[in-house]
């Protein structure tokens, strides 16, 4: 039975191999200090030259040659060798400096097995309160510090928080239960369409539609869960990917219900518990005696998604310490053993799919009410991939890691859009947003090299022996 492939757990979400290799590489390298100084710097030069050559080979065709419409409207090749030279020079000098000063020293200190990961203190201790205070204080800060930019910054903040919430929701399925879900955006779409259709058809308020959207999404989570119960790893990923596409195509083609590619517009905007954000009497600002400002709605939406994300987080953390959470983690490690302990893995998996989907449904209905317009365009595979990337980069199972990864991935890309520094290097026509995916890829490669298990990979046990308050050893004996 031991060798029966059907009973072995197949894929697993722990890239242990890379980490082990990295360690072996570091341990196996002879200390560079043993060599004479001269040969060491020559070796460093050679290494930097190789790196520069690779950079040239890569950036030459990608950056150096562009097709632009010529005078006769035909495409002509334009050559841009200055940025290529800049890239090659940066790589050469950077590699040289790293070789001479950074790596050299790291290799000398043979006593440190994992330099970066281990030397850092546990970041959770100070990062969590810091991020929380920042998140709560951001609107106030922004409105007083940069009033003309506040609308934009809060918009980005809301977007990041939406992704954090989605990341935390997917974290239940991927991080805790270890079920690789590539179609998570389908539940986001179901939540958004549930809200949009119910509120436009029946005119029900946001606070009634929100739980309904969550319930619908959870029901679809169970619906997806049933056929994929026996699948794991790659096979599960393929089926969930297909599920995501099926939902999108249904939304696109069921025109009587969803209005197809035209989407649903005029979705009711959220009100402050019944008070609309409008200038007239009976509006939010009138009731509270404030001067009307369009910022009110933006700030309210920001705090709404912040509250929803925090609820997601608190619920997830609590569930993790409950039997169902431990069963999810047990399932990730060994499904056979879980069943041998009397755990009905069917129910446990369905619960993971349902709860994960429910949070996506909540996020989806928030998305619909914030945008006021939704169409199937918003729910393509790229979204699923982004959310999954956030979870994997953040460290599957870690709340803080997912939040940081979302800030870096979504916020970082927005920041890239606004960097005028890049324009001064690469010329006026340089559009950083075109390099989004390149930056995405670079960040992923970097994290997978340095932190193969994600930014925050330390697992906190759900229960410790000291949680047991023992009055005396006799009572413990009776319990057995």
């Amino acid at each position: 039975m031991a060798d029966d492939p059907a009973l072995q757990p197949t894929a697993d979400f722990r890239p242990e191999g890379a980490e082990v290799q990295a360690e072996a590489r570091q341990a196996g390298l002879p200390p560079r200090s043993a060599k004479p100084v001269e040969s060491r710097s020559i070796a460093a030069l050679k290494d930097a030259a190789i790196a520069a050559f690779v950079a040239l080979a890569l950036s030459g065709p990608i950056v150096g040659l562009v097709m632009v419409p010529g005078p006769s409207k035909a495409l002509i090749v334009q050559q841009r060798w200055v940025p290529v030279a800049a890239i090659v020079a940066i790589v050469f000098i950077g590699r040289l400096l790293l070789n001479l000063f950074v790596w050299n020293r790291a290799r000398q200190a043979a006593t440190q097995p994992r330099p970066l990961a281990q030397r850092l203190p546990p970041i959770g201790a100070f990062a969590t309160p810091l991020l929380l205070v920042l998140a709560v204080g951001l609107p106030i800060l922004v409105i007083y510090a940069v009033p003309d930019q506040s609308r934009y910054i809060l918009g980005v903040g809301t977007l990041i928080l939406t992704y954090i919430m989605l990341g935390w929701g997917l974290n239940i399925v991927v991080g805790l239960a270890g079920l690789l879900d590539l179609g998570y955006v389908a539940f986001y779409a179901i939540g958004a369409y549930s809200y949009a259709l119910i509120s436009t058809e029946f005119g029900w308020s946001f606070w009634i539609c929100l739980p309904l959207a969550g319930l619908f999404a959870a029901a679809f989570g169970v619906m997806l869960g049933f056929p994929v119960l026996r699948l794991r790893g790659d096979y599960l990923a393929i089926v969930t990917l297909a599920f995501g596409e099926i939902i999108r195509l249904v939304l696109l083609n069921w025109t009587q219900l969803t209005k197809g590619p035209a989407g649903i517009n005029q979705i009711p905007r959220p009100s402050f518990f019944g008070l609309p954000f409008a200038a007239g009497p009976g509006g939010f600002s009138e009731t509270f005696g404030l001067a009307y400002s369009p910022n009110h709605r933006i700030v309210f939406l920001y705090y709404l998604i912040l509250a929803m994300a925090l609820i997601t987080s608190v619920v997830t953390i609590r569930i993790r310490n409950l039997p169902i959470g431990r069963a999810w983690e047990a399932l990730r490690y060994d499904e056979i053993a879980s069943r041998s302990l009397g755990i009905n893995t069917t129910n446990v998996k369905l619960a993971a799919f349902a709860i994960g989907a429910m949070f996506a449904g909540f996020a989806g209905s928030f998305f619909a009410t914030r945008q006021g317009f939704i169409s199937p365009e918003s729910f393509n595979f790229m979204e699923s991939a982004t959310i999954l990337a956030i979870v994997v980069l953040g460290g599957a199972g870690s709340q803080l890691g997912v939040a940081i990864a979302a800030v870096v991935m979504i916020g970082g890309l927005e920041a890239l859009r606004n960097l005028s520094l890049l324009k001064s290097v690469f010329g006026e026509n340089f559009d950083p947003t075109q390099y989004r995916l390149l930056a995405f890829g670079l960040v992923m490669v970097a994290i997978m090299v340095w932190r193969p298990r994600g930014l925050v990979s330390r697992r906190r046990p759900s229960v410790l022996l000291k949680d047991l308050k023992r009055p005396a050893t006799d009572s413990a004996r009776q319990a057995g």
Partner: protein, 296 residues
């Protein structure tokens, strides 16, 4: 059919396509005793285990597990009713139950030949997972637990006490908060037994518990298994290749070869059985007498 049995295996057959792994096997595991299932490699021992614990559905046969002495009286009526268990709920027909129900309701626990711990979870967490069913009900199927309602906290405390008790029994209380995968091999074997015991079983099936243990460790294992039998009144069924362990602690031995039972009896009787010696040593008929003299 034996009346002091906890498990009655009758005419069990398991075929994989053309291969008959277990062929019309009948034996009984007695209540409060250690029954060993031995045999050469490929004899079908683990297949029998997987049938008993529900991981395989047998091709034919009846696996009746009785919680009480007189439970087996209702085997015929339960079979006739086409039910999984008797109406009183103390007789279970294991071949009709899914594996998690066998662990939960029939109270049969098992360990695995290749250790299957939850390697990233701590030792204590492993034992808490084993008490899932008791706790999930107390947590109001998670809803009550999210709000931290008192009944769940009480049950959680009891579960922790039980886990700590078993960690003490297998001498792992000092490593309760270490990931199970970081423990040494022998400790992992003990932890797997402790985890099985946390499901509160009546019959414990151990698949090669002494595999890979050194002499001292297998001595400790013998003591632990005796403790389970004598103090906790657990019936044990074990597969073992380590003859030192088998002969020392078993009350009863069943020998399989090519899926068929070739001997069934006390350790002394089995040790002197001609067919057992032939199966293990593969000797010719003429040499059997000589071999029998050497081994005893």
């Amino acid at each position: 059919m034996e009346t002091d049995a906890i498990l009655n295996v009758e005419h069990l057959s398991m075929r994989f396509g053309g291969l008959t792994a277990v062929d019309d096997l009948s034996f009984a595991a007695r209540r409060g005793e250690i029954t060993a299932l031995i045999g050469p490699n490929g004899a079908g021992k683990t297949t029998v285990f997987n049938c008993i614990t529900g991981f395989y559905k047998p091709t034919a046969g009846c696996l009746a597990l009785g919680h009480t002495h007189d439970a087996f009286a209702s085997v015929q009526t339960t079979v006739a009713r086409n039910a999984r268990h008797a109406q009183g709920g103390d007789l279970f027909l294991l071949e009709r139950m899914p594996e998690y129900e066998i662990a939960r309701r029939a109270r049969v626990a098992r360990t695995f030949q290749n250790i299957r711990l939850f390697s990233g979870l701590t030792a204590l967490e492993n034992l808490m997972v084993a008490q899932h069913n008791r706790l999930i009900r107390a947590s109001g199927y998670t809803v009550g637990g999210i709000f931290g309602l008192p009944p769940y906290r009480q049950r959680r405390q009891e579960a922790l006490e039980r886990a700590a008790f078993w960690l003490e029994q297998v001498d792992l209380i000092d490593r309760a908060d270490d990931p199970a995968g970081d423990l040494p091999y022998g400790a992992q074997r003990r932890l797997e037994i402790a985890r099985a015991m946390c499901t509160d079983p009546l019959l414990l099936c151990l698949d090669e518990p002494a595999a890979g243990l050194n002499l001292r460790e297998s001595g400790e294992l013998n003591a632990l298994l005796r403790l389970l039998r004598d103090e906790h009144k657990i019936s044990l069924l074990l597969i073992e290749h380590h003859m030192g362990v088998v002969m020392e602690i078993s009350d009863h031995i069943v020998v399989l070869d090519y899926g068929k039972k070739i001997a069934d009896g006390t350790p002394v009787a089995v040790r002197n059985d001609q067919r057992v010696i032939a199966a293990y040593l593969g000797v010719e008929d003429e040499e059997m007498a000589a071999a029998s003299g050497v081994s005893s």
